[in-house]
């Protein structure tokens, strides 16, 4: 499989359409899922998905076969997603740390919630919270890395994550309560 991908990548560099389609078929589900997590709705996700895939194909010659291809292409998508979110909303801003109330919270006992519902809640988050939340929870990035990437302070990153979690908690609790009731 790995060798196959390598040969597809090499052919993609030569603009081989069949190889490009193969790569698309292999990685499009995970990458489209990624776009859905970062963007507010499906239409925006489609736009970025399309643009990012074109960029990935155009930059395929820069892949040095040193790490995983999935990681490489995901990085391109995340960069494009963040760039779009920053561009789309000129007024994207991040709350500063002094506004944060970092409170130790109790463990929650929550009923299981469907994937689609969770995704919906993430999409409903304000852009700035969603960016930080995705990078921290799914990309496993540290606040230091997030702050560099988004050009914000570490405190702001922490504060935005707390806000995001707070909103999500309320929504999940609401569903949980309604199920248990």
């Amino acid at each position: 499989m790995k060798e196959n991908i390598e040969s597809y990548i090499k052919k993609c560099v030569e603009n081989d359409r069949e190889a490009q389609l193969k790569i698309y078929q292999l990685f499009s589900p995970i990458l489209y899922g990624l776009c859905l997590k970062y963007m507010r709705n499906e239409d925006d996700a489609k736009d970025v998905f399309q643009e990012a895939f074109v960029i990935a194909f155009q930059k395929m010659d820069q892949f040095k076969f040193e790490g995983s291809f999935e990681g490489w292409i995901k990085r391109i998508f995340i960069n494009k997603l963040l760039e779009t979110l920053k561009k789309k909303k000129k007024d994207v801003f991040f709350l500063d740390v002094f506004e944060t109330e970092v409170v130790e919270e109790e463990e929650l006992e929550l009923a299981p919630i469907e994937q689609e519902k969770l995704l919906e809640y993430i999409q409903e988050l304000p852009d700035q919270y969603r960016m930080v939340f995705n990078l921290f929870i799914f990309e496993k990035m540290k606040h230091k890395e997030i702050s560099k990437l988004l050009e914000i302070s570490e405190g702001t990153s922490k504060s935005n994550l707390n806000r995001a979690k707070s909103i999500l908690k309320k929504k999940i609790l609401a569903v949980s309560n309604s199920k248990t009731a």
């Binding site: 490009q20 899922g33 998905f49 709350l95 506004e99 919270e105 929650l108 309604s178």
Partner: protein
């Protein structure tokens, strides 16, 4: 919710995947088929425009200043003063040759009675059709090529029958365009389909964007109300599930809590927007401190005192502030200490101190020019304010005088005004093109003979004007602090009156740029 807890709740979404709609691949494919990005073309156009402006302004000024020099030369040539040499009418000769060639070609075309003349005519037609081929490249299919061939053969036939090549080529060009259009319309079904898809895509995008705008507007107005409406939506969907009063109460309670939270957030967000906008604005300013080396060049092979002027290396330094008008454009100004210089080797000179008895033999005919009283025909000029040193106007014709090397340096306090355009801005690296003008005030003026200062140049202008073109490449090595290198060129319009001087200057600056 703790981080661990959040991670476990959302772990199911970690590798979340979803099959994209099938039409997306068609769109990506269509985009991959498109020629290179327009962005790249814009960059190249902007480089070309900057270079064109940067070169044309000095060129225009140079030719204008040469006209002035010509007048001075006429005066000075009567007295065999400072000499500038100009080229002869090579261009005219070339033009004549071209005209002659054209004439012979025309004659050949008109005769049109042998093989050679047919060849000429055919080549004209093929040139015309190479234009056709270029225009039709976008079609890029076999049918288009056939159309070209057809029209080409038509043109050749009609050429044999008539005398007007131009009118034939024009008419056949029209034909070929018509044929091409009809062919592409018929044969390129796939292309048409993809075009239709593309247009659909655009329509969809437009709608989606409009939708997102309305969404974002709504969210800007009131986050709280937006969230509430979302919740009421979810409540509606769950009419069947939420049917007992306790859950309704708890839901209402949670909803009100969420609404309160959102209100607080919306308020604090609004406050923060104002706070955040201020630093963004302040980021627009930057301060550059730089130093560098320059080389004054004899761009036009000009001569002074009968000898060719040589280049001279010097140095400069300064401070500049830049204000970013937008993402791409900026303006900058500041001050700079810069030196313009030149060297003249093998200059014949007369030292008044050493040959005091002979000085009376020279009669001053102007402030700068002296003529010998005797029968000798050479003249002397005083370029410095030190009257003890007189230089031969033409160093080659003077025998028996001392020979030496003259070095001249003018130091200016300059104030540039530049417009900058960012060609590339990638992570920590920026490439910027700068062009503009400057005004300089003379602060130091020195003539040295064989390395020893003999005084100041008499002909120098106190104020100098010029244009500049440079390219800044900078790298952010600390937060908001860049190291940059800046190769460029300066053109000085009027450094001296009545004397040739290096006006063109290469420069290479390096320094630090701090944004604030």
């Amino acid at each position: 919710m703790k981080n661990k807890e959040a991670k476990s709740i959302f772990s199911s979404l970690e590798n979340y995947s979803s099959i994209p709609p099938p039409e997306l691949w068609d769109k990506i494919e269509a985009q991959l088929d498109e020629p290179k990005k327009k962005k790249r073309a814009i960059i190249w156009w902007s480089i070309a425009a900057s270079l064109a402006i940067g070169f044309s302004v000095p060129a225009v000024l140079y030719f204008n200043s040469n006209r002035g020099n010509g007048f001075e030369l006429n005066i000075e040539s009567n007295t065999n003063g400072v000499v500038l040499q100009k080229n002869s009418n090579e261009k005219n000769d070339k033009l004549k040759v071209n005209k002659g060639q054209n004439k012979s070609l025309n004659e050949k075309e008109n005769n049109n009675d042998n093989l050679n003349s047919n060849q000429v005519a055919v080549s004209t037609v093929s040139n015309n059709f190479s234009k056709n081929a270029t225009r039709n490249q976008s079609g890029n299919n076999g049918m288009v090529r056939i159309a070209n061939n057809k029209s080409e053969s038509n043109a050749i036939v009609s050429n044999q029958n008539s005398t007007s090549v131009v009118s034939n080529s024009e008419s056949s060009e029209d034909k070929s365009i018509q044929v091409t259009n009809s062919n592409s319309g018929l044969s390129n079904k796939n292309n048409n389909n993809s075009a239709t898809n593309h247009s659909n895509g655009i329509a969809e995008n437009t709608i989606s964007k409009a939708a997102s705008i309305s969404q974002s507007n709504a969210s800007e107005k009131s986050l709280a109300s937006n969230q509430n409406s979302d919740f009421s939506g979810s409540n509606n969907n769950k009419k069947g599930i939420v049917d007992n009063t306790t859950s309704k109460d708890s839901l209402a309670k949670i909803n009100s809590e969420v609404a309160q939270l959102e209100k607080v957030l919306a308020k604090s967000d609004k406050d923060k927007t104002e706070k955040k906008e201020a630093p963004k604005n302040s980021d627009k300013w930057s301060l550059q401190v730089f130093a560098g080396v320059t080389s004054s060049q004899n761009f036009n092979n000009e001569k002074t005192l009968g000898n060719t002027v040589a280049s001279k290396q010097s140095s400069g330094y300064g401070v500049k502030t830049n204000y970013k008008l937008n993402k791409k454009w900026g303006v900058s100004s500041g001050f700079k200490i810069n030196e313009l210089g030149q060297k003249i080797a093998g200059v014949s000179y007369y030292n008044n101190q050493q040959q005091a008895s002979s000085v009376a033999a020279y009669v001053p005919i102007s402030n700068t020019i002296y003529r010998p009283n005797s029968s000798t025909n050479y003249q002397l000029v005083a370029i410095s304010n030190n009257s003890e040193y007189l230089f031969a106007a033409d160093s080659k014709s003077n025998v028996g005088m001392e020979k030496g090397n003259v070095t001249q340096n003018f130091k200016y306090f300059e104030m540039p005004l530049e417009v900058s355009y960012s060609l590339l801005s990638k992570k920590k690296t920026n490439i910027i093109m700068n062009t503009g003008g400057f005004v300089g005030k003379l602060i130091s003026n020195d003539i040295a003979l064989n390395g020893t200062s003999i005084g100041e140049n008499k002909n120098v202008n106190d104020f100098v004007y010029g244009t500049l073109l440079s390219s800044t490449m900078q790298y952010e090595f600390l937060k908001k602090t860049y190291f940059f290198i800046e190769p460029g060129m300066n053109y000085y319009i009027n450094p001296l009156e009545n004397q040739s001087f290096n006006q063109f200057q290469w420069m290479f600056n390096f320094g630090l740029n701090v944004k604030f």
